[in-house]
Amino acid sequence: MSQYILEMNSISKEFVGVKALSNVNFQVEKGEIHCLIGENGAGKSTLMKVLSGVYPFGTYEGDIVYEGNVQQFGKISDSVKAGIAIIYQELALFPDLSVYENIFTGNEMKRGGVIDWNETILQAKKLLQKVKLDVNPETLVKDLGVGKRQLIEIAKALSKDVKLLILDEPTAALNEDDSENLLKLLKELKTQGITCIMISHKLKEVISIADKATVLRDGQTICTLDATKKEVTESIIIKNMVGREIEDIYPKRPKREKGERILELHDWTAYDPAIGRNVVKNVNLHVNKGEIVGISGLMGSGRTELALSIFGNAKGYKLQGDLMLNGNLTNLKHPNEAIKAGIAYVTEDRKGDGLFLLQDIKSNISAANLQGISSKGIINDNEEIIIADKYKKSLYIKASSIEQEVGKLSGGNQQKVSLGKWLFVGPKLLILDEPTRGIDVGAKFEIYTVMNELIEAGMSIIMISSELGEVLGMSDRIYVMAQNELKGELTIEDASQETIMELATQ
C-alpha cells in the first residue's frame, strides 16, 4: 500500500478563457503537514476546490486517489463523508447564526433529524477550547472579527470526522499570536494523525511548520520540497515560486527628482463602527509628486482600509488626524469629493466593487467621469467611444470591441478596464490596491509599463500589494503595515524581502 493519503494525478481545470490548472500532480503523505505555495492566481485554491467537490467530478480532468481509491466526488458532502474538510479562502460562515450553529451546520449532532442542542453546545465548547478560542458559543458570528471567524472555521472542520484537513490561507487575517496558536494547533492535530494541507503566502510559517511544500506556478506543479532534506527554505521557495528574473518583469524607469508633497497623513486613525474597532491606527505617511509609494504587508493588515479612509472616507469610518493635499488641510466626505480633489482608487476586488460587470467596456471606463464626456448633463456618445478606444489602446485591453461586456473579459483585462476608468478621471494621485492580483505575467508587465508612463507624466501612485517582488520592483519608497499600523518606512535601497517581511510580521 502506498504511504500517500492523497494523490492528485494530471489534474487540469479550465474556466471560460482561463486555464487555471494544467496537469498538476500533487501527493500528500499520511500524517504530514504539506504546504501549497505559489503566487496569487497560481491555482492553489482551484486545486483544493477540485479535491473537495466544489468543482464536481466531470468538470475537471485527471484522477484523485484518496486512501488508495480513485474518488469521484459529485458534491461537497461526498468529500466530507470521506473525511476531507476544507476551510475556504473566502470564509463560508453564516453571520446571523450563533457560533455553535455555525460549527455544526451541515454536520449536525442529531438523533433522527432532531438536533441535540445541549450536546451541540458541549461539543462546540470542546472544539472552541481545542482551537483556543475563548468566546461564548451563543455569540452570533457577525459580531466576531475575522480572526475569530477563522478559528470557528477550523473548529467546524474538526467537528467532522476529519482525516485530511485543508486550510486555504488560514492565517492571512490573523495576528501573530493567533497565527502561532493556529500553527501549534496544526502540529497537535498532526500528532493525532490528521493530515494537513495548508495554503499560505507567509513563508516563515511555511518554513516553521511544513514537512513538505509543493510550489504551483501558473497552474503547474513546479516542485515538491522536503523539509527533512532541508529544502524548505526561503530562498529555494522564492526561486521556485517566482521562477524568473526580476529584471524581466519590472520595467525600469529613469530616476526622477523628488517633487513636492502632494499627500500627507498625520496621526491618521479610522474607527469602523460596523465592526467596532480601529481599522487604521496612527498612520503618518506622505507621498511626493512623481513617485510610486509601495504599501506592503500581510493580508488583513489594514491597507485597504487605509486607502478607503483616504478616498473620501468611502466606508463611513470615524476619522481622526489630518489629511493634507498639496499642503492644505482637506476634509473629504464622499468618494466624489476625493475624485474632484484628484484622487483615484482602483479597488482590490474588481468584480465585487470595482466594475459594472453587465455593462460594456466603454460605459465602465466613463463611469467615474461622465462629466468629462458630457455637456449640460447630456452625454456625447462619440466622445465616449473615442475615450474608450484610447484607453483600450494605451492599456492594451484585449477585447473584440469596446462594446464587449466587461464580465466576459479575463481578469487581467478587467483590471485594465478598472485602471482605465480611473485614469480617465485624470487623477494626481492614483491608489492601486493589489493591482496585479490574479493576473498573468504578460498583463502584469503591461500594467507596470503603464504605471511608469503615468509617473513620467507627473502622477503619483500608492501601490498596495501583497506581492513582495512587485513592491520591490516598482516602488520608490515602501511603507510596511501590520495590525492596522504603519510599522516602518524603507527606501528602495534598504528594502529587501527580508527587511519587509521582518516589519510585516512584527
Binding site: 461537497i76 463560508a92 453564516f94 446571523d96 433529524g113 438536533i115 450536546e119 453546545i121
Partner: protein
C-alpha cells in the same frame, strides 16, 4: 439586588426579541382601556384569534419563504382556489372530509413545489414567478366556481374547523372543562419541558439563569397560558381554529429550532454560498420551503372555507399581503436568515387585534387602512433601528 440586576440584563439583552410582545401588550392594553374592557372579554379574544387563524398559518410559511430571501405572492389565490376545490370535493363529489383534507394539502404542496422549481431551477425571480401564479390561481378559482357561484358546504364536521369549538365535556362555573384541561396540560408540559431543559443544561454544567429568575419565568408564562385558557374557557373554549394554529406553530417552531432541516433553512437564508459550501442542497431547501408554503396555503384555504362554511369566488384576495405584513411585523428580515415562526403568529395577532380593536371603537374604514399601514411601517422601522444596521 443581583436578582433585579439579572432581570435588567436579561431584558436589555433581549429587547429586540421582546419588542413585538411589548407592542402586542401595548395594543391590547390600549384597546382594553378604550373599550372599557370589552376588548379583552372572553368572547372578543376568542373571535379575534379565530379571525387571525387563516392569515397566521400563511404568515408562518411566508416567514420561512422570506427567510430564504424569496417571496410568494400566489398564496392568497392559491388558498382561495384550493378551498374551492375542497368545497367541490366535499359537496359535488361527496368525498369525506378525512380524505378531502389530505388531498387538498397534497395539492397545496404540489403547487408550492411548482413555484419552487420556477424559482430554484429555472431561476425566475420569485416575485414574478409567484405573481404569474397569482393570476393563474385567480383564473382557476373563477373557473371552478363558475358553475355554481359560492359553494355552500353542509358538512358540519368540516365547518367546525372554522367555526366549532372542542367539546366542552362539562361546564364548571360556566367554564369549559376540556379547554381548562387542555390549558392545564399545556402548562404542565411547558413547566416540564423547561425543567427538563434546565436539568439537562445543568447536567452539562452549562450556565443557567438563577433559580429565582427561572421560577419567575415559569410563573409568568404559566400565568399567561392560564389566563388565555381561562378567557377562552369562559366563552366556548378552544376553537378548532386555535388548535390548528397552535399545532402549526408548535410543529414549525420545533422544525425550525430543533431539526436539521430547520437549521439548514436558516443557513440558506443567512448565506446561500456558504450553505452550498457546507454541503447543503440549496435547491432542495428551496423546494421544501415553497412546498411547505403551498401546504400552509392549502391549510389556510381550508380554514377560511370552513369559517365561511362556503367557498366564495373571491376567497383569498389579498391574503398574501396580509401574510407578508404579519411576517414583517413579526420580525422577519428580507436580508435573509432572520425571522421566527412565533414572531409570525404574533405579527398576525397584532394585525388582527388592530382591526378588531378599531372595529370595536367604530373607527372608520379609511382610518383603519392608514393606521394599519402606519403600524406596519413603524414595526419595520423599529426592527431596523434596533438591529443597528444602516
Amino acid at each position: 439586588m443581583s436578582f433585579i440586576k439579572e432581570v435588567r440584563t436579561l431584558v436589555s439583552e433581549n429587547i429586540r426579541d421582546y419588542g413585538m410582545y411589548i407592542a402586542l401588550a401595548v395594543i391590547i392594553l390600549t384597546f382594553t382601556v378604550m373599550t372599557n374592557g370589552l376588548f379583552i372579554s372572553s368572547r372578543n379574544i376568542s373571535n379575534l384569534l379565530d379571525s387571525a387563524g387563516y392569515i397566521a398559518v400563511l404568515a408562518v410559511g411566508m416567514t420561512l419563504v422570506i427567510v430564504i430571501r424569496h417571496i410568494d405572492l400566489s398564496v392568497g389565490y392559491a388558498a382561495g382556489f384550493l378551498g374551492a376545490v375542497a368545497a367541490i370535493l366535499l359537496t359535488q363529489a361527496g368525498v369525506s372530509m378525512f380524505i378531502t383534507i389530505p388531498i387538498i394539502l397534497v395539492l397545496g404542496v404540489a403547487t408550492g413545489l411548482l413555484n419552487g422549481v420556477l424559482v430554484a431551477k429555472i431561476g425566475i425571480p420569485s416575485f414574478v414567478a409567484t405573481l404569474a401564479g397569482m393570476l393563474i390561481f385567480r383564473g382557476a378559482l373563477l373557473q371552478v366556481t363558475e358553475k355554481t357561484g359560492t359553494i355552500i358546504i353542509r358538512d358540519d364536521m368540516f365547518n367546525a374547523i372554522g367555526n366549532g369549538y372542542i367539546p366542552s365535556l362539562m361546564e364548571v362555573n360556566g367554564l369549559h372543562l376540556l379547554s381548562l384541561l387542555v390549558g392545564m396540560v399545556g402548562i404542565i408540559f411547558y413547566i416540564y419541558s423547561e425543567m427538563n431543559t434546565r436539568k439537562n443544561k445543568m447536567k452539562y454544567n452549562f450556565e443557567v439563569v438563577s433559580t429565582g429568575i427561572f421560577i419567575l419565568k415559569l410563573v409568568f408564562v404559566s400565568a399567561i397560558i392560564a389566563y388565555v385558557t381561562w378567557i377562552l374557557a369562559g366563552y366556548n373554549g378552544f376553537s378548532w381554529t386555535v388548535i390548528v394554529m397552535l399545532a402549526v406553530v408548535l410543529l414549525y417552531h420545533f422544525l425550525t429550532t430543533k431539526t436539521v432541516l430547520g437549521r439548514h433553512i436558516y443557513a440558506v437564508g443567512s448565506n446561500p454560498e456558504a450553505a452550498h459550501l457546507s454541503g447543503i442542497n440549496v435547491k432542495k431547501i428551496t423546494y421544501i420551503v415553497f412546498g411547505s408554503m403551498g401546504m400552509l396555503a392549502a391549510l389556510s384555504g381550508i380554514l377560511f372555507t370552513a369559517r365561511l362554511q362556503s367557498a366564495t369566488t373571491t376567497a383569498g384576495t389579498l391574503f398574501e399581503l396580509d401574510a407578508i405584513a404579519a411576517a414583517y411585523v413579526g420580525g422577519v428580515s428580507s436580508a435573509g436568515g432572520v425571522g421566527k415562526v412565533t414572531g409570525a403568529i404574533i405579527g398576525a395577532i397584532v394585525m388582527a387585534s388592530l382591526t378588531n380593536g378599531m372595529n370595536l371603537l367604530g373607527v372608520g374604514i379609511s382610518y383603519q387602512y392608514m393606521i394599519r399601514g402606519g403600524v406596519l411601517a413603524g414595526a419595520v422601522i423599529f426592527d431596523v433601528m434596533t438591529r443597528g444596521r444602516k
